[in-house]
């Protein structure tokens, strides 16, 4: 009994203060949570809209689709469908991630309506070396992806960067970052395609 009294005497302030602070954080969270989620969604939609220019709006078609990350872990991804002003499906967009040179790279990937061609990728977050790896956001590299077939992509050190095919030309000085993006894309495109096919949203391969 004496011990309990001692503990209460010593720690009552900490307990009271922790409770008050917890309440304060809960209030702040409740007030701003919607806005934070909205910000994240806006960012995704803006990036996706840049790659699917015909899209008027996006709707989540598959929520929490099961996928495997590059490290073999089970993760869940949301696949969104882009619809144009007439209500027709013009493409698909989803986010994916993998490790880059310095840190995780998170991408938005956009594919056309029949899942035949990639229309591009946008960067949600990356922390690649300034001046080298961060060039993955530059047009030289990014434009190579607009219109490539949605199948296995390859990295090549030299070659014409204007030619749109499954051979992507690396950024000199940033081979690891260039390769990471391709690895992420290759890994997820196939999985997402299967997910959509199994739900009958995209036609099967012939």
């Amino acid at each position: 009994m004496v011990k309990v009294k001692y503990f209460v005497q010593q720690s009552w302030l900490l307990i009271v203060v922790s409770f008050c602070f917890g309440l304060l954080i809960a209030v702040a969270n409740a007030a701003w949570q919607d806005r934070i989620l909205q910000n994240e969604e806006d960012k995704f939609n803006n990036l996706a809209k840049g790659m699917l220019t015909e899209a008027a709006s996006f709707e989540t078609m598959v929520e929490d689709a099961e996928a495997e990350s590059l490290k073999g872990k089970k993760i869940k991804i949301n696949i969104k469908r882009a619809i144009n002003a007439g209500g027709k499906c013009v493409g698909w967009a989803f986010s994916c991630e993998g490790s880059g040179f310095a840190d995780k790279i998170k991408l938005v990937l956009a594919v056309d309506g029949s899942f035949g061609k990639i229309t591009g990728f946008g960067i949600l977050s990356s922390n690649e070396t300034p001046g080298f790896g961060d060039q993955i956001k530059n047009p030289y590299y990014r434009n190579q992806f607009a219109g490539v077939p949605a199948e296995e992509l390859e990295l090549s050190k030299t070659g014409p960067s204007e030619k749109i095919d499954s051979e992507i030309i690396a950024i000199s000085g940033a081979t690891v970052s260039s390769e990471s993006v391709i690895k992420i894309i290759n890994h997820y495109v196939e999985q997402v395609k299967k997910q959509l096919q199994s739900r009958g949203l995209v036609a099967d391969d012939k």
Binding site: L13, L14, F21, I25, A28, I36
Partner: protein
């Protein structure tokens, strides 16, 4: 009575100036080096970080000063950390909701304010021993001192790495027909270390001259 107010005003002024120059957290005490090196790539993130630190420092100094007489000596560090963590979480949520771009740029460095030595140092050295008024002034002085230092550092790095300050172009870049070649190294960690080192040297020289004179 007038003497008393005059004395108080003197203490306030002294406390305020201490944070700005004589005990400037970055240049004189070398505290909070992690954000100083990490977020000074450009002025905007540096300013956001500085304002967040001012907010957390003010709130934590106020709370600690109010409860200072109830603090148990062996539990005080725990109390400080809980207080700081709460206000940092609130600042982090606020940035995510209203300035998402800055929140992204600062990344993990906003939550890392929790372990920023400046804040815990002020709670221990000032707020847990002084009245509410002195604690607030101290937080303002230290916070503004820290923010100004970050902005100076960031300004130098931003202009040398991109030719702009506050994202407003000042030097004409060579790629656009001008003369200035941006130094990519200045936006990397090496640029932070070099700039900080040179500024520390400069501040030390000025201080030495002052004491001699």
């Amino acid at each position: 009575m007038t003497n008393d107010t005059g004395l108080k005003a003197g203490v306030y002024k002294e406390t305020l100036l201490r944070g700005l120059w004589r005990e400037n957290p970055v240049f004189r005490l070398l505290l909070g080096m992690c954000p100083t090196l990490a977020v000074t790539v450009a002025v905007k993130p540096a300013l956001t970080m500085g304002l967040s630190v001012i907010f957390v420092l003010l709130c934590s100094n106020i709370v600690v000063s109010i409860i200072r007489k109830l603090l148990k000596p062996h539990l005080r560090i725990l109390m400080f950390t809980v207080t700081i963590a709460t206000f940092v979480t609130i600042a982090d949520l606020f940035l995510k909701a209203y300035v998402p771009r800055m929140s992204e740029m600062l990344g993990p460095y906003v939550p890392l304010i929790i372990v920023n030595c400046i804040i815990i140092c002020r709670a221990e050295a000032c707020a847990s021993k002084s009245s509410l008024g002195v604690s607030i002034i101290d937080a303002a002085g230290m916070g503004v001192g820290f923010t100004l230092t970050l902005c100076v550092l960031a300004g130098i790095r931003e202009i040398l790495s991109t030719g702009a300050v506050f994202e407003v172009a000042i030097l004409s870049l060579q790629s656009q027909g001008g003369w200035f070649v941006p130094l990519a190294a200045m936006s990397m960690p090496v640029g932070a270390f070099i700039t900080l080192g040179l500024l520390l040297g400069l501040v030390n020289t000025i201080t030495k001259r002052k004491t001699k004179g």
